[in-house]
């Protein structure tokens, strides 16, 4: 989109106005996330920029909120819970999800659409409804308020992401490779680990990352299915925002932004690698 040399004044004005509008929208998208990073270094217990911060005085900035996050037992136990729940849920959904995705991409699967609809449903149903149903059902079978209950619930929520990314990777998978492997005498298990797995690994990893972030970020379901013993980081933030708003939340938020930038980069790199391996141009 470039301005042709013969553009009229009106067209020029519109061209630049449009860019300014787009710039403003990008600002709207990104500014809230970026604002909280400097605010998290606030030396005061305020949620806005103090005059000292605007004048760039060194003593208006401090790491006290970060220190609070790393020393406060509540935040630490929340962090510990998150770190215990998310990997377990991810492992479960990746293991089951990858197998099922391989099954689903075979050429003969009876009732494929129905199966697919069931497997994707945790992503479609609003979280509050999943949370309500799980709360009712898990309290019937004694899973409500247990670590296992939260892990199972989060694994169920992460499964659609694994299914979608892994089946997408399998689209480009050349089935003659497994046949060649079988022809050379490898059993199905060996073929899976030596031939199939290395090729679909980028899809599996990015599905796993999606599942991980789903569990790590999730608050509605854990709020209902979990009890005080499973209080995760987002739950602690939720309580903090609702009741005793403290700038430590901003420090936690900044750390999470850094984590999401790292994850975004990983997923993007994986996607490019996967497309390169399948001979598609990156884009």
């Amino acid at each position: 989109m470039q301005l042709p040399p013969y553009a009229t004044t009106g067209q020029r004005i519109w061209f630049y106005t449009f860019r300014v509008i787009c710039g403003l929208i990008f600002f709207f998208l990104i500014a809230p996330i970026l604002t909280i990073i400097p605010l998290s270094f606030n030396a005061e217990n305020f949620f806005t920029f103090t005059p000292g911060m605007l004048a760039f005085e060194a003593d208006a900035y401090s790491l006290r909120h970060y220190r609070d996050f790393f020393t406060n037992p509540q935040w630490q136990s929340a962090l510990r819970n998150s770190v215990q729940i998310a990997p377990a849920a991810t492992l479960l959904s990746v293991a089951l999800g990858t197998l099922a995705a391989i099954g689903l991409s075979q050429s003969h699967v009876p009732a494929r659409r129905a199966i697919m609809a069931i497997l994707i449903s945790p992503m479609i149903v609003p979280l509050i409804i999943s949370a309500a149903g799980m709360y009712f059902f898990y309290s019937r079978i004694g899973l409500q308020g247990t670590y296992l209950g939260v892990v199972l619930a989060h694994a169920a929520l992460g499964i659609p992401f694994v299914i979608i990314t892994v089946t997408a990777t399998l689209v480009g998978f050349d089935n003659s490779l497994t046949r060649a492997s079988a022809n050379l005498g490898a059993g199905p298990v060996r073929t899976f680990f030596k031939v199939q797995m290395p090729l679909i690994l980028p899809g599996v990893i990015s599905g796993g990352l999606f599942a991980f972030i789903t569990s790590f970020d999730e608050v509605v379901v854990v709020l209902f299915v979990g009890s005080a013993g499973q209080k995760t980081l987002p739950w602690q933030m939720f309580i903090g925002l609702r009741e005793q708003i403290s700038p430590t939340i901003l420090a936690v938020a900044s750390i999470l932004v850094a984590i999401s930038i790292a994850l975004l980069t990983t997923v993007e790199l994986l996607r490019r690698r996967s497309e390169r391996m399948r001979g598609l141009s990156p884009g």
Partner: protein, 584 residues
Amino acid sequence: MARSSATAPDAFTGATPDNAMRDADRAEAAMVAADGTPLKRSLNRALRAQKLRALALIAPLLIFVLVTFVAPIADMLFRSVENDIISENLPRTVQALDNWNGEDLPDEEVFRALGADLVIASELRNHTRIGSRLNYEMTGISSLFRQTGRDVDDIGEIYADQFIALDEAWEEPSTWMTLMAADRWIEDREGWLRDAAEAEAAQDAAETREEARALDFDTPEPAFRISDLASEALPRTASIYSEFARVIQTEDEDSPAEEDPWNIVYQALYEDLSAGRGEGYEGEAAALIAAAREAVPQFEERSVRDFFLEEIDEDWADTQIWGTIEAFSDPYTAGYFLTAADLRLTANGIEAQPEGEQIYLMLFQRTLFMSLAIMFSCIALGYPIAFLLSNLPMRTSNLLLILVLLPFWTSLLVRTSAWKVLLQQQGVINDILVWLGVISDTARLALINNQTGTIIAMTHILLPFMILPLYSVMKTIPPHYVRAAKSLGATNWTAFWRVYFPQSVPGIGAGCILVFILSIGYYITPELVGGTTGTFISNRIAYHISTSLNWGLAAALGTILLVVVLVLYYLYDRLVGIDNVSLG
């Protein structure tokens, strides 16, 4: 947004069982495989094996999702109509109310049934649960039931005294045993007593304390069984007595053979005898019954109805309460759905809720209105961005796409806390506006804890879900169509509006449905920035689950929301396809 066809119908070329099958069909003579079996059968077997293998791979996950996710949803649907608490805990009352005309005060029979039901319910500590269930339908019932539960065990006291005055044997638990217990049970119990005595003797003989402890006898008493003779001759007494025995055995872990029966048992006995029943009774206690039968007409009477109205609470004369009990006596009810639609079930059929209690239609309307508002702001903001991204060179647009994907990947709570910080009265936005002189320091804008706050924050949160599908559609629109339109004399606007825009409509549709589906079920953001006026139906669901404990209503509201989402999702599937959900 790669379009995938991983789950599309068979599009394989080369040697698959299908192709070979078609070849076999076309062949004139029967084709035979290497081992001599007809090729068709051999191929069929291979095909079946392949299907089984695929299903075996899918099965673990399918079962997992069915148990951890689909079963909970089914449970919620079931709870939205389930209503067995009344029919299970007040069975006699429900039955007696069948004959009630719905207008006058119910007769003595109904009150007798209610008395019996409530004594049992209060012994099981269930009467408060019944009360709170009925309280959802009519305020005040809860305290009435709590109050009644305290006094109800005095019903029948007057008869208990008179039976005992007539013959002291009526006070003895053993009399009731001979009268009520089945012979088989008495034998079982004797065996059990022998075992217990033996165990005790063995324990006494044990040398060490550990040994003795290992010999502890903890088998419970065999479950009480009522004698057929008694339930035929004295049906009411037998029915109440077996409830008594069950409660004594399970709740108090005592033996009915050693406990005095409740007053209500004497009340039932009086009811049976005064109605002329018990005539043919020929069991061991026949003489006792015969004597009682003769004495009963001279007994001082006390109607249960009067007892309820005079001693317990005169509110029991209110026919509305009886109407409510009757209306909710079925094990399944549409009552929760009616409440969700601001209606209510009364004895006279379906009525509108009183003015002050109509909140759900308003909440549904607000949820729809705000979701639409969010959807339109997402179009307004997302369209230019998607347009720009799809018309820039690949390198630049990939760079700018990161600005869209970063919010998409950032934790929802991070974004919500950012808005909470920015929108506060003493927050960054108000500070900037004051500093710019747009508003005065005293007239700071209320941007949070209202609808404005929810719409701003949720537009920001859902904007990537609009931009990504729009972008993937716009990328496929060939640029030379617009150029052709312009070379044919169209102005910039006409070329855009008549040529470009119609081609981008599928993207708008997909983005709109996605944003709308996501926003009507949102909970966290409205809860944190919505205050009281900016909350959604989902916040009400959460309130009923965790605060008011009206789970049935929460389930009904959830069911309605689920149906709306599924219908929208079906549209999305028709428009875009389930498989084309992509994750940036």
